[in-house]
């Protein structure tokens, strides 16, 4: 299946879903900062990869799929759960890219400029994540 983006999907996001994501995202950044202040950068750094928004995201994915199926007159509970599981698998693949992003920051931050390091780290995250996704996709298709 070819990757594609649907801009219309943005219209389907309800106001309370925007608020949940914004509030969770903001709260995690505050908590990560407070933990680093209290316990130091070694423990604080773990929370830069804390899956705080993940539970909310997974349940919203499940709810959207259920609603989609319900509109077509079906019980979408099972479909919602499967799509949510596939989404979680994609997130697991993305974690390899996330580790790559952190690795670039770790090595390059003390040596290079902030903007260059962030650009390189973001490129590494995106490239690694997509590469792992493509590899897994190929492996599944060729089974």
């Amino acid at each position: 299946m070819i990757v594609h983006a649907r801009l219309s999907a943005i219209k389907g996001i309800k106001p309370h879903e925007w608020i949940i994501r914004f509030a969770f995202g903001g709260a995690v950044c505050v908590i990560a900062g407070l933990i680093a202040q209290r316990f130091g950068p070694v423990i604080g750094g773990f929370f830069l990869a804390f899956p705080a928004i993940f539970p909310a995201g997974a349940s919203l994915v499940e709810a959207h799929e259920e609603q989609h199926k319900a509109r077509a007159g079906f019980n979408g509970a099972n479909r919602g759960r499967i799509v949510s599981a596939i989404d979680a698998l994609g997130t697991a693949m993305g974690c390899i890219g996330l580790a790559g992003f952190a690795g670039v920051l770790w090595i390059w931050l003390p040596r290079a400029g902030l903007v260059q390091t962030f650009v390189l780290a973001t490129l590494v995250w995106l490239t690694l994540s997509v590469a792992v996704w493509l590899l897994c996709k190929k492996r599944v298709l060729h089974r």
């Binding site: 990757v3 950044c29 773990f46 830069l48 994609g90 997130t91 390899i96 952190a102 902030l114």
Partner: protein, 116 residues
């Protein structure tokens, strides 16, 4: 522990915006396995590392990034467990993601014992 209210507010606002941005990307893309990649976007790091560097310097932020590598591996284990649980045991997504959160903490603690 001295924390500026202004810094906390900046973290909250920037974090909220960046996390929402990646959540929108995840909503837009299909197939869902690809969209899931954005669930592990470095949103918290992008939102906070700049503020951390301004307050504590690059060496401090670099040390945080080293721990973040292990946090990301713990996240991988956690997300894989969630996916497995949803397919095999068929709970609600919120139940699975919250019930398995100790996996992330346990893996992170194990890594911390190694790197401290």
């Amino acid at each position: 522990m001295h924390v500026e209210i202004g810094e906390l507010l900046a973290r909250f606002l920037i974090g909220g915006v960046i996390v929402s941005f990646f959540a929108v990307l995840a909503e837009m893309f299909r197939p869902k396995s690809f969209a899931g990649l954005f669930g592990a976007a470095p949103s918290v790091a992008l939102a906070t590392i700049g503020i951390t560097i301004a307050g504590h310097g690059k060496a401090y932020a670099s040390l945080e990034a080293r721990s973040m590598i292990f946090g990301a591996i713990a996240f991988l284990l956690y997300a894989a467990c969630v996916s497995w649980m949803l397919l095999r045991l068929k709970p609600r997504a919120l139940t699975a993601t919250v019930a398995l959160m100790p996996v992330w903490f346990a893996a992170s603690c194990a890594f911390w014992l190694v790197v401290r």
